[in-house]
Symmetry: C2
Subunit: 415 residues, 2 copies
């Protein structure tokens, strides 16, 4: 039997135990795991060095090496993340609905774990611990398939957590790490219907697309964000500048950062030239349509391909539109339905934008950078769903749950 | 452009209008459509005759022809179904959550339509109207791909509904029928990421498996039901007989009918012989394990393949177990996680069964036949979900919705 199938089966065998654990039991296990990670910092850093060494040999970029690197401070941060998950309310067991039928049936819809969750992700070892914490807190088993570049770190982290779980009510088999570095192990996970209840990809768009295109297991699509900010005619220049700069440069590498700025022609005539200078000072390359380039002559030309690109970088498309309709139409064509924003003092335009734009989060006078579990008050998130099924937007603990109907009667039969 | 892509794009162009319709506008359109179907009964029956004629020429079985056949009474029933959907509460626009953040962000999670829903189904033309009613009521566009055996009927029904919608606020393009009878049109639908937000299969297990195995679009898996009833040692014989007979024979062809009866050995010693006679009189063929066959000598042998088969017929597996654990273990191995039942007077065993069995509906002293939208009080359903993501169990109107976060602020930017 392959490693993937074997580990998924082991995970499946403990779902029943996991689903009946109390909140206290789960929290106690997470705290033990957090402490164990801190205690074993030196071992983790040692294992991490192997990954970094291999990465350097393979010519991995410095920025990727930085994301991969662990030190005492980062490990403390990771452990702190587990402690924060302990503080979150446990959704399992919650009564979602109670129905009493005329025939005496008593129906309760109760929140239950999903079962076994597969996570496919890339380099950063903090995702390993995050995913374990979120899955265990919700009574799920987890099958992790991290990037091969972090394999030594991940193996050590999981080894420590396995050891820590021994003294707790959480069975060790609830956490499984796929060590096979070949892509075929991912492909196999994606087809494990009946063993995995869901696969969640975390990473860049090629990883996500591979999962979406090849999985027969249900998937929660996350991440890709071509986010727009539309500056309406009535936008306040100070607010418009602050929001659009923040949306682009506060952290360009993330999915809720802005990729295209749409500007009403009246606003553009009055303020685009100044705004472009602010972007220039912030080191942002601008690509624009013809109208934009007639105002910002140093901008290069924006093509449809540019409008369809998630740069995650200091590059921004700028397009001048004649009205709200044209802005909505552009967004409809290019949005990945993640986060969209209108800056306006016109209440009706704001309402229309929020009604018509089809996205997980639609903002009025707020930077798109707020689409985030912590910013919404949910705490740690397993990702940001850009699909419409099951969960949409930042996925807190309830996104890792399902429900079941529990029905009591006294001999009811169907006529 | 292919028919499938063209029609999905047409549907996608009206989602914005659909999402902003009032409940009154949607209900008015459904009532007009219902009346139009009744008024055009003769035309529908005429078109249906073509399907029946073609079916007879192709050697379709009488039972399938019966499911395909329409007459005035059935058309009235179908129209009545639309009127019942009008009576259901409209979930769209519902506020699901309100969050006020310390930084002044006001976040509202609002229920919205999914967008464009693909339905892949088999012969019965009533599904065409049901699906249209449920999707329009929830502000969704629908792309229908019915079985080719009902194509003339479906074409006529959709033609009438298109005509009826002209005088309403619901755009005609909200309803699309794929007429291409080749399997390739289904395959194409299953890959329409970005155009279809979900595909829901309705039909037999081969249709469902084809969808699950080939779709890259999100799927809600429905239907397959290998349902068990476990008669515990303390079960009341009268209730146990009534429930198990009802679960098997009241309508054997449906997904919530029982396929395997598990019997505690003490109950079996005292009552299985009598119970088997009742099944015999009802025309049910029994297949049993060795212990069962030592009590019911006319039962044939049940294999693991039998335990894994959804008969949808007058055939039942019977297995004697030594205790609740063995029953739970059998269910874990063979259940499709649809509907499972324990008959017992032992409250603790009931609770444990309901806690540990992983299924959409878990019954105590009630026939599994109740897993149904109407029986749960939801009204018409688009199917019964056997997956854990998004919706589980009977899917009423809320299962056809998503949510979006609408965020208002006054210039907040992320630090």
């Amino acid at each position: 039997m392959s490693e993937v199938r074997q580990k998924a089966e082991l995970a499946g065998r403990v779902t029943s135990v996991l689903s009946s654990l109390s909140t206290e039991q789960k929290n106690a296990a997470l705290l033990v795991a957090a402490q164990a990670l801190i205690n074993a910092s030196d071992d983790i850093i040692e294992a991490n060095k192997e990954d970094l060494q291999r990465g350097r040999e393979n010519g991995t970029s410095e920025s990727l090496l930085d994301r991969l690197a662990l030190n005492k401070g980062r490990i403390e941060g990771i452990a702190e993340g587990l402690k924060q998950i302990v503080e979150l309310p446990d959704p399992i067991g919650e009564t979602l609905e109670t129905i009493d039928r005329p025939n005496g049936l008593h129906i309760v819809k109760r929140r239950v774990p999903l079962g076994v969750i597969g996570i496919v992700y890339e380099a950063r070892p903090n995702v390993t611990v995050d995913a374990i914490g979120l899955c265990l807190k919700t009574g799920n088993a987890v099958v992790l398939r991290g990037g091969s570049s972090a394999l030594s770190s991940n193996r050590k982290i999981v080894e420590i957590i396995h050891e820590a779980l021994k003294g707790t009510a959480v069975p060790r088999d609830a956490v499984q790490l796929i060590e096979d570095p070949n892509r075929s192990s991912v492909d196999e996970m994606l087809k494990l219907n009946g063993l995995l209840d869901v696969v969640i990809p975390r990473g860049g768009s090629s990883l996500i697309q591979n999962v979406v295109q090849n999985a027969t297991v249900p998937v929660i699509e996350t991440g890709a964000g071509i986010c727009h900010t539309y500056l309406d005619a009535s936008a306040t220049p100070e607010m418009a500048t602050a929001i659009s700069i923040n949306a682009k440069v506060q952290r360009p590498s993330v999915c809720n950062a802005m990729e295209t700025l749409l500007v009403h022609e009246d606003y553009a005539t009055a303020h685009l030239s100044d705004l472009a200078e602010v972007f220039k000072e912030a080191g942002v390359e601008l690509r624009g349509d013809d109208k934009t380039r007639s105002i910002v002559n140093w901008a290069s030309e924006a093509t449809d391909e540019d409008y369809a690109t998630e740069y995650n970088d200091y590059i921004l498309n700028v397009k001048i539109v004649s009205n709200l309709d044209e802005a909505l139409s552009h967004i409809r064509q290019f949005s990945t339905k993640h986060s969209e924003c209108i800056v306006t003092e016109d209440r009706e335009n704001a309402l229309r934008f929020q009604q018509e734009v089809d996205a997980a989060a639609v903002y009025h006078n707020v930077s798109t950078r707020f689409t985030d579990g912590f910013e919404f008050g949910f705490g740690a998130e397993i990702g940001i769903s850009t699909q419409k099924l099951h969960a949409r937007g930042p996925m807190g603990l309830p996104a890792l749950t399902s429900s079941k109907y529990i029905i009591d009667g006294n001999g009811q039969i169907r006529e």
